[in-house]
Subunit: 350 residues, 2 copies
């Protein structure tokens, strides 16, 4: 899906790797004081002074993580950056630089790659990170994007997955499940398009869902919000694989159990109505859908007053002794064990 | 090429991403004081105190950068790390951490991926770097490896590409062209094997070339050697694309010209004899072959006495005013312009 279809296309073969790098790096300026040297040498040089450096990396593969039939390249570039920044925010830290590497087959003209980098530039600007390096290479098939995010934090603020304590409250930002449903809507429209290429996609009423899928945002605001509220989270993770899987990560690394309350899981009204339309369980979507890029964290119970009623934050459960297990308390008030795939409906809780 | 063919294979699908990560990360311990948190959270946490942080990244794609028909996976893992570390050494810095991401199709069993990571572990150990993160994902076709190397340096030691001055000496470590010829030898044997699968590869006499191709080493020693010699290089780059291309990078970024002396280019005797056998020009191989992972740097003329006669270092030319251009002085004492593809034999020097 190349947005500027009408223009003349330039082949990557003709341009060469150095030409491509030169062309792409033009639209990127460095704004962070910590960036000493960006693109253009054997490596970038950064200066974090007495602070800690954070590093996170992700691969996005065409046909596995995205389908160019319904993902515009600009959105893809934007999302590739955002999902990596989310990992830095999930340490309660601030991202400052990224590197972006792409492997791309010759079927992509320069203009397509420029669309991708326009999205990367947009995300970089919005989140205030500098593109300081990368690699561009050909692939035998399709497009692959590898992003590494670098961030900075004071040691005292860094929040790991392993700090949750028994009785801590489990808190989530925003709402869950929309990105997964956005994908279902896009896939449905793509199937319609395959049967009738003249059909126009019917996305009315699904704007929020589709946007959450195609142009997710990382929770840049939470780091600052928690500081303002005077709350030090005890553990933190971002929701990329689904609420259930992330809760299990926190429990495992913190060696605690958990009670999650089904009725507390924050869902957008569009998520609820679209789940009804698709005949799928909205709780299952929140637990296993993933790609929400919201933050999940724990706080001491004494901080409850500081966070209650905040529209960005929802208390969805509390941590327990490890031996009590990891459960969801359903609306019908039964306890079911949480699994990485959502919950195990075949096994009764104890 | 899976070395332990005789064993039972474990499918990646069955193991799952978390299982794979858990299994692979077992063989990696962190040894650097700067590694605060390695694998296992949303991001790694590093502490470089008052030093500068360096970041470099590379992608290796099956069918583009390597052919599993003749590259053992363990060697591939080793090489993927080494080529990235080389970029950090090329800043006159010391690598300390790496992240490794792989995209892999289901045709690879767990045992193949373990071979790959055995090579990664071997290189990490040899070069003293910690594996602190990464991503493992499936691909629709083949294997792709993305490595990011992180390093550290005192500000005063960092050597960029842009510091070469007029009259500086151009120095190269080791010898050139062997890795390219190693690839030619391996490709020839692979063609023989395709015609006659019972043939045994005939690599006698080519050991050095094949090793330089399959198991290259980065010049870990040069940083220390230069310190001992009391030499501060003015510019530096590693030789990944070929001597000619790297000289042009130094010249462009330093805004100088260069005279390279053909007769000074260091070649191993095996390179010379194999070039004769393959009927290719050994100078062309050194200029354009690439993958040598030697270091190319410039020093002030006053440092000549400190480096002359050192078996690791060869003075191959000197920098000139930019307006004098970038040339090679041939054995026949004619000047030919250097190009990124070697030299331009159709154009006479001025």
């Amino acid at each position: 899906m190349f947005e500027n279809k009408s223009q003349e296309n330039t082949s990557l073969e003709k341009l060469g790797e150095f030409g491509l790098i030169e062309r792409l790096s033009k639209s990127f300026d460095c704004v962070n004081e910590s960036t000493i040297k960006g693109i253009g040498d054997d490596s970038a040089v950064l200066d974090f002074k007495n602070k800690k450096t954070l590093i996170s990396t992700d691969l996005l593969v065409e046909g596995v993580h995205f389908d160019l039939a319904y993902v515009p390249l600009k959105h893809l570039g934007y999302k590739a950056v955002v999902v990596n920044l989310s990992d830095i925010y999930a340490m309660n830290a601030v991202p400052t630089q990224i590197t972006v590497s792409i492997a791309v087959s010759n079927r992509f003209p320069l203009e397509a790659i420029e669309e991708l980098y326009a999205g990367i530039a947009l995300a970089s600007k919005k989140y205030g990170v500098d593109l300081v390096g990368g690699d561009t290479t050909s692939s035998t098939k399709g497009l692959l994007i590898s992003v590494t995010a670098i961030g900075v934090a004071d040691e005292k603020n860094i929040t790991y997955r392993n700090g949750a304590q028994v009785d801590d409250l489990l808190v989530v930002t925003g709402d869950l499940g929309a990105a997964y449903l956005g994908l279902q809507v896009l896939e449905r429209e793509n199937e319609v398009f395959k049967v009738n290429p003249n059909s126009q996609p019917d996305l009315v009423g699904y704007t929020y869902l589709v946007e959450r899928q195609l142009k997710p945002e990382a929770r840049k605001d939470i780091n600052g919000l928690l500081k303002v509220l005077g709350v030090n989270p005890t553990s933190m993770i971002d929701i990329s694989d689904g609420l259930s899987s992330e809760i299990l990560h926190l429990c495992k690394q913190s060696e605690v159990g958990c009670n999650l309350y089904e009725e507390k899981i924050p869902l957008d009204p569009t998520v609820i109505s679209t789940c009804e339309e698709f005949s799928i369980d909205s709780t299952m979507v929140a637990l296993s859908g993933g790609e929400d890029y919201e933050l999940l964290f724990t706080v001491n119970q004494k901080d409850y007053d500081k966070i209650k009623g905040n529209p960005n934050l929802t208390v969805i459960g509390h941590m327990t002794e490890a031996k009590e297990g990891k459960h969801m308390v359903t609306r019908a008030n039964t306890k079911v064990p949480l699994t990485a795939q959502g919950w195990n409906s075949f096994s009764e809780g104890n």
